[in-house]
Symmetry: C2
Subunit: 456 residues, 2 copies
């Protein structure tokens, strides 16, 4: 694994030292000697991670971090603040500026590579989704991500440990928002099941556990698709460094050293939960995009695109199983007059009301689509010729019982005309819909508000 | 990094040995003692990789591999065949059955972990996209992936080496399909640039290179978003094992040992190119889905959804820059009559022709959308009130010059009516479109085929 690292420090020897360490491990390194240079480089070259010194003349590390985190093009890049060992206040300020992690000077190799690998791993795993999402946002299909929006949501932390409770964590909860609740589990197998069921939003694993190998628990979580990205925070004491390195290697998201600092705890929890919610949002966005591609926005019915895909499938299925299938074409009567007399808002209201009635008057296995302006198609699998007409009558009555109430208080009675066709052996989607459409045309010619079967 | 590994062998001691090795490195292991059991487990538990013994009673390894690769639920899981050392014929048969890689008995640790890590890394990186894609395929929005469909496409291999040519590769091309061409590059920096420009489909890196550190070249490719997933094949001699392990650690996709076996070469090339094309297809599918969400399928114009997102943005921009903006509402005259008299196919043809004329008669920066059945909206940024009417006239003439030729040879003359409105300080998208729509209504009342401005 490798990554592009941006090293920022106003002192050239510090920059050179980190650069040498990173390049020896085959990382690609960029360097900047000031906050402003760092921001310009980050925007232009999009590194995978930024190592940012706190003390710099001009823009200091905190200011630089704030600007990076507020910029649409750089907010997703993890920032590690490099602080002096004894500056606890710097850590708090860094977290408030949006930093993802810390390294203390002099920088230890283990900590350096552990932090860099762990932070870039998450970034690289989500880059694919993030790129697609950004494209969607540019097109206006998807909304932009906003990490801080997740902070107010209820979340649960599962702490897996042999102890009954870890006081520092309970104590830490003073600094944590009230909507985060902490649950303890002593049995690692039960914990794994709860995690697979998606119960906790964040898992703490005590590396001091003896009742079960804590590393086995980490790999057990990371080995499954569904929990591969679940946030895990390891809790380690100073003499558990070896296990910690192995845990980070297995993909643990972050760690806390004991004694646990309450403010650091709260900040790391917030970061991990934000990331998880962000990933969930990315995933949901794509499902939503796909839905947009097949759903008619105004009425919520399936659109013509879905009719041609899914309808073709239904008809092939009916041919294979030799089961009957019926098609209805439905058209709202005098719809143009509604639009012209009462305006488009009234027209839209009528379309929505009719669609709602169509949806409730067919079965879940039937396919109801809006095919054009005021026209709808319904495909009904396993529906014999004899009952198709009756079902169409039922649809007609369901719609015709609608009285649409306009915003100015006027009411409109709506009727529809329906054409019915049943599947022939030689039919494809186009031919059966055409016959239903011809029947619909005759229903219109015949005075509207009626059901007509296809010509015998 | 960890993964779930399915180990398949009819001899229990062999299974136990591999299981112990893998578990010691914190992999999760499932085991099967027959081909059929392996298939059932793979379908039910979806492992990240299958290690498959060739010689088994009943279904042998080749048959098992074929079945896994033909099943919709398991084709994407990498299969490593475990063969006897001297059985070259087994390798060829395994590749023909669709195996992704080989291990020879007795299995060496280095080779085992290198193969497992490298194959599961690619799978895990693409799992997110693949899951979303599968959801799209179930909805009928996206088509199913078909890896073998990529085999016939032209592809280029870039070989980075100090040599002028590597005879085995040229020689190997006898076994490779004719559409694959091989290009040599001695300068690693030039190679990196070519790779970043996306020129080669597959990169070979000679680990014996001395003019540039071949590992640095690997990390230089892997460190960039755009080339992170680019397929790289390392070429290593027996005494370059240490570099090879490091190269696999840096994310090289696969390797060939010298002397290079021609058939193995051809098979590995095919596998890598298939994977790359598959990833490209996944990426393209998502872009396509997003396009579907904003494009009207019939006419190719933007849809109402895009109008509300992008139109709102354009209007905000116009308010900010205090530049003018004009809106047109366009409606096809007597469209219902066309549909009723000539049928829906004729109606669709008219919609397409009119849309094509609208597209060509506005600027690239204008936003032309189909908002409903036969109605269109056009937003024109930086268009002053004085010229809006003239532009609308031009659009009217462009459309009215259309003669639509129906499939039965009849011709139809089409006209439109247009309402014009210009941006007021207090306008939002809805209010400006409403005024344009009211103007359109008056154009209709006034006898159609004309442009009317909003009421003064």
């Amino acid at each position: 694994m490798t990554a592009r690292v941006l090293v920022v420090d106003d002192l050239e020897p510090n920059v050179k030292l980190l650069e040498a360490k990173l390049r020896a491990e085959y990382f690609e390194v960029m360097t900047a000697l000031s906050g402003q240079e760092a921001i310009d480089l980050a925007i232009e070259h999009q590194p995978d991670i930024v190592l940012l010194d706190v003390m710099m003349p001009g823009l200091d590390g905190f200011e630089t971090c704030k600007i990076l985190k507020a910029n649409d093009e750089t907010w997703h890049i993890p920032v590690v603040m490099v602080t002096a060992l004894d500056q606890q206040a710097d850590r708090v300020a860094g977290l408030q500026a949006g930093a993802d992690d810390f390294l203390t000077k002099p920088v230890q190799d283990i900590a350096l590579f552990a932090r860099v690998r762990s932070l870039t791993r998450f970034k690289q795993m989500t880059d694919e989704l993030r790129h697609r999402h950004a494209a969607g946002a540019r097109m206006g299909v998807l909304s932009k991500a906003d990490l801080s929006a997740f902070d107010e949501k209820q979340a649960t932390i599962l702490v897996v440990t042999d102890e009954d409770s870890i006081p520092a964590i309970d104590q830490g909860s003073e600094h944590m928002p009230k909507h985060i609740s902490v649950v303890y589990e002593n049995d690692a197998r039960m914990a794994l099941e709860a995690i697979r069921r998606g119960e906790p939003d964040l898992v703490f694993i005590d590396l001091g556990m003896e009742s079960y190998d804590p590393l086995r628990l980490c790999s057990g979580i990371r080995a499954f698709d569904t929990t591969r990205m679940a946030p895990i925070l390891a809790i380690a004491s100073k003499d558990e460094t070896r296990q910690l390195v192995r845990a980070l290697d297995l993909g643990v998201s972050d760690y806390l050293m004991t004694p646990i600092d309450a403010q650091e705890l709260a900040a790391r929890v917030r970061t991990q939960i934000r990331r998880m919610r962000y990933l969930e949002q990315l995933r949901a966005s794509f499902d939503q995009t796909m839905e947009m591609a097949i759903i008619d926005q105004l009425t919520g019915l399936y659109n013509r695109r879905f009719l041609s895909n899914q309808g073709t499938r239904l008809i092939e299925e009916a041919h294979t199983t030799e089961e009957p299938l019926a098609a209805l074409m439905v058209d709202i009567d005098h719809f143009k007059m509604v639009n012209d007399t009462y305006g488009h808002d009234a027209g839209d209201l009528v379309l929505k009301e009719v669609s709602a009635r169509l949806t409730t008057s067919v079965r879940g296995s039937d396919l109801a689509c809006r095919t054009g302006g005021e026209e709808f198609a319904i495909l009904m699998p396993r529906t014999p010729k004899e009952s198709a007409h009756d079902i169409a009558d039922r649809v007609l009555r369901a719609v015709n019982s609608v009285t649409v109430k306009l915003s100015d208080g006027q009411t409109l009675d709506v009727t529809v005309s329906i054409g019915v066709a049943s599947l022939d052996r030689s039919d494809n989607l186009a031919t059966i819909l055409k016959r239903a459409d011809e029947a619909l045309y005759r229903a219109k010619q015949n005075g509207r508000n009626q059901v007509i079967d296809e010509a015998a």
